[in-house]
């Protein structure tokens, strides 16, 4: 990896600040331009850096303050570097941040640079060529529950991301003594999905297209470049690497990069048409004319060479009958043709990018796989047991239903009534009968009153605010279900939060309790856990009671009591179950004891 450096001044003396990571131990080094200064060289070990502070991007000053421990590991010293060039400062700052973060976080394999690095500074996760070795490891990590349970870092991260989970964790584990392993055992699915989420990688892409020079206000053009980007540029465009290797000892790095980004080479590599108006950079443009394929050793292997006489596929594409004798525009020998140049560039780039991805199945081409399949001796394999759930469907017609059968008792009634109906339907219909006779009139009036009554009742439910329908009417963007409570309950939000917290914790304990009780395991450890949970559940009850007591004297006592009542019932039920099981066990033990002590006659 190349070193990042930039011009900085330390203690009012100008100099160069470099991050030397290649060296062992890696250091941050500042060397003064003028060697006759009091402190010409400052070396700070990167391991010893505790924190980094930089000035606000908006402020005029550009300074980085590095706090580090001395070699003895005792004091905390500070070193202040001020910059003149913001991009240089940003660059160095970012590098340092990454370094610090990497040192702090647990690094997995020395090669993997980006896989588990969730550092915020390196926002764009750029492709790394050493992905392959860590791939398999990650997959198995995700699926193995034990590994997930042990991965505390992952758990911590998940908690930080998920607030509600954090609250539950705090209350249950830290305040009330729930075993953290218990907590996570029921949340393996969360861990798993989170781990997979974190390990998402981005595929390779053309880095140059992401680098966009931004015109800043004072006629300068700023370019944001991270180390990863530089690395990937080198990978994808070896010609840049070549240029860098040849030029950087001479020029300094910052200068190299600034010249590169404003040169024609950059534009050409990006695929933009170069016109004579662009500034030509003397140094870098030499490379324009170099053969870009000089470095390509990978491509030659993958391209098979077929004799053009028998190459059917290429003959199909180069159809002289249709297209004429002149070769296709891409095949013409024409060096500065823009179109074909761009096409060739892009193709080369894609080829290179794809070559960088190592696929585990890459060795096996589809044909080889097929062949292998054919060779498999399937007869030797075990029979696969089909596992299925049998669904029994009923044809309702076939099912005899007693209720549908006609009893003898009502048979007579039935005949009579059917005859009456038949007769009635042959008589004329007078629809005014439904409202004309007096009985109907009175009845209608009564019914109207009845309906009115029901409407009255139902309206009250609407205005009480407890109806689920009413909840839908609230604009869910600005208020949540949580807001329904306080207004109609006369309880403040804080108090409600407290109740909610207690509730959540108790539910958590209950969950673990029941899953253990129902598991039926005879393992001593499990039983002990169960007992502990039982104790926790009783503690829950006392906690709930304590919270409810707080409201003893307020006028919302009734409502609070009503709210917590279901929770109390379920807690008591859990205790009762345990009690029942416990007394059953005692009885059983006594019986066994009795039968043992009874001497057989």
């Amino acid at each position: 990896m190349s070193n990042v450096s930039g011009a900085a001044s330390h203690k009012k003396k100008n100099g160069m600040l470099t991050v030397l990571e290649d060296q062992e131990p890696s250091i941050l080094q500042w060397s003064a331009i003028d060697p006759s200064v009091a402190v010409p060289l400052v070396k700070i070990r990167l391991d010893f850096i505790t924190s980094l502070r930089a000035t606000n991007p908006n402020s005029n000053q550009m300074m980085i303050k590095v706090l580090y421990k001395d070699s003895s590991g005792a004091d905390e010293k500070t070193a202040l570097f001020s910059f003149t060039n913001r991009s240089v400062m940003d660059n160095i700052q970012r590098t340092l941040q990454q370094v610090v973060a990497r040192k702090k976080a647990s690094s997995s394999t020395p090669g993997a640079t980006t896989t588990k690095d969730t550092d915020a500074a390196s926002s764009a996760a750029t492709p790394s060529s050493q992905v392959n070795s860590t791939d398999k490891e990650d997959l198995s990590t995700f699926l193995d529950s034990d590994k997930l349970l042990k991965d505390h870092k992952l758990q911590q991260k998940l908690l930080v991301d998920n607030k509600t989970l954090m609250i539950t964790f705090k209350e249950a584990v830290m305040s009330n003594g729930l075993d953290p392993e218990e907590f996570w055992k029921t949340r393996l699915h969360l861990l798993r999905s989170y781990a997979v989420q974190q390990a998402q990688k981005r595929g390779p892409y053309n880095v140059l297209s992401t680098i966009k020079p931004v015109a800043s206000s004072d006629n300068k053009v700023n370019v944001t470049v991270t180390r990863e980007k530089i690395q990937s540029i080198f990978e994808q465009y070896p010609i840049v690497r070549k240029a860098y290797d040849e030029n950087v000892p001479r020029l300094n790095e910052g200068e190299f990069w600034s010249r590169f980004f404003s040169s024609r080479l950059f534009r050409q590599l990006r695929g933009e048409p170069t016109s004579s108006y662009d500034r030509a950079d003397v140094v870098l443009d030499k490379y324009l004319y170099m053969d870009p394929n000089a470095d390509e050793h990978t491509t030659k292997e993958s391209i098979e060479h077929i004799n053009p006489l028998i190459d059917v596929q290429s003959n199909e594409q180069d159809n002289s009958v249709k297209l004429g004798n002149a070769p296709d525009v891409t095949m013409k020998v024409n060096n500065d043709n823009r179109i074909s140049g761009i096409m060739k560039n892009m193709n080369r780039l894609s080829r290179r990018m794809l070559a960088n991805i190592k696929d585990e199945n890459q060795d096996k081409t589809p044909e080889v796989e097929q062949l292998e399949e054919q060779l498999d001796l399937r007869d030797l394999e075990d029979d696969v047991e089909l596992e299925y759930n049998e669904l029994k469907l009923q044809n309702s017609k076939l099912v005899q239903n007693k209720a549908n059968r006609i009893d003898d008792r009502i048979s007579g009634d039935y005949t009579e009534s059917i005859k009456t109906s038949q007769r009635q339907f042959h008589e004329p219909f007078n629809l005014t009968d439904i409202y004309n006779p007096t009985t109907q009139r009175q009845a209608i009036f009564d019914v109207a009153k009845e309906i009115s009554q029901i409407v009255k009742q139902n309206t009250k439910q609407y205005s009480q605010g407890w109806q689920a329908a009413n909840l839908n009417f609230q604009d869910s963007k600005t208020s949540t279900i949580n807001d329904v409570g306080p207004e109609s309950l006369n309880i403040s939000t804080d108090e409600l939060e407290e109740l909610r917290l207690t509730h959540m914790t108790s539910i958590e304990f209950l969950r673990h309790f029941w899953s253990h009780l129902g598991s039926g395991s005879k393992d001593k450890q499990d039983l002990l856990t169960l007992k502990k949970l039982h104790a926790s559940v009783s503690k829950c009850i006392s906690r709930v009671e304590a919270v409810v007591d707080k409201f003893q004297d307020s006028n919302s006592k009734q409502t609070v009591h009503a709210i917590m009542q279901p929770l109390v019932i379920s807690l008591n039920k859990a205790l009762a179950e345990y009690q029942k099981a416990s007394s059953a066990m005692l009885e059983y033990q006594e019986r066994v004891h009795k039968s043992r002590t009874q001497t057989p006659v």
Partner: protein, 547 residues
Amino acid sequence: MSDSSNLLKTTVNDYLENLPESVHNKLYQSSITCLAIFRLLPSLAKFYVMSLLFNEHSVSYIDLTRWIRPDNMTHLVSSSTKSSSSSAVTNFPGAIGKNKMYQNECLKRLKQLNLIKDVRKQWTNPNTGQLTNVVVLQLNPMFRKNFRNALTGSQMSNDLNNDIEMTDVEEVSEEFLDRYSLMKWENILHFMVGSEVPELPSIGVLSLLRHSGLMDIGEENEFIATPKRFKGDNMDLKSMKITQDGFQFLLQDINAQIWQLLLQYLRMSEKLMMNPVDVLNFIFMLGSLELGKQYPVTLLSDTQVIMLEDLVDYGLIYYPEKNRYFYPTRMATTLTSEKTTFKTASMSMNQVLEGGPEVKDHGSIVLETNFKLYCYTTSPLQIAILNLFVHLRTRFANMVTGMITRESVREALRNGITADQIIKYLETHAHSQMKKLAEEKLLKKLEFDSNATETQQIGSQVKLEVIPPTVVDQIKLWQLEMDRLQTFAGFLFKDFANAQEFEQLANYADEVGVMLWRDDDKRKFFVTEEGIGQLNDYANRLKRHRA
């Protein structure tokens, strides 16, 4: 959108509501009229009427209003004041929810139509023995009787259908009637647009057009110096020009157009001493007749016979032999239908005119986001109407294409057509494919945005957008462009003696809120018309103080 049918409803309703009670009661004697008027009511009003229909006792006002859900007032509070700890109900003075407003509107309309009467009764509370005033509502007994009869199928007195005899006169086919009515109707419309007409509409129609404000006698004609010419001459009528209202009229759909003319006819007929009850009854009855059947003239009253001849001019009636039989056309039978069923009718009419096979999307418009428009039509009338606001470019065998441009829309706006009308026209005539696409998009939006619910009370932002929103917005923007000047009527104050006077008056005007413009350097300011009174009072008070 049912905006034009709402427009129609409001105009018809306005007319009906302004009739006196006696007329209403006479109207309600015909069950067909009862039904027709019932259909014109808003949904909630219909519900109220139904609930009172069979219940012969009167119902208290509270009982009826309880049906409506109490509004959730939180959505009326502006978002800036919303915070999770504030109370849910904010009763700022005079706050009335949408539901309540709708309810009040319905009750008001029912009262104006004299369907409901409210009576104050004194009621003794059985528990407390107190006397309280209770408002109860009663349904108009005449309406009740006849509507119930309609529903129960008894006593169809006014129905002509009972007395149809098959005579030896040949029945006229539906296609013929359609073609006939369409010809007459389009004649009128073509005349309005200004295209060539084979035969000018009759004098009665022309004067109706003039009186309704849809067309006007142009001013140019006055300058033609002919001594014998005076206003109202028949020659003038024949050379009328279309007005702003006329343009708007053209963009409405047929049902609304016919009703507008009929209402105008109603108003004119009152002046001619024709019995409005008869006229209205006849119109509503027309809506209930069957297409293609002939009806003997003998059953109509005298007024209605006169009407017959007039209505022939509009294409509503086919009256070949005077004083024997008449045939209602499709335009007549669909008078009282709702808009949706009518669209199919008008489409079938269009199809008849072309004589082609039934193309379901005939006359429909496809509009792209790049403002290009394609309309499947061959009717010269529709093309002429489109030409009002679309720059038509090409005409094919079954289609015309064009673009909605700034110029074309401005031309339309200058003629008095509003952007809303253009948009409504486009929406009503939108191709079914566009509607389908819009519905799919809406479904996707609703699925994606799980926070949006169906109820309208939240004011959900998602709604069916048939016409691309870009086009809609742009047309509205073009309309705004036209309104670059905003005028206010008011009073300008200037020439103050000293700065102090100016300051006093100007500040007062500011405080009261009537100030429109002020210039401190020149010591002038401008107040609204309404504000002049206040300002004068204040100035007089000041004078008295000083004096």
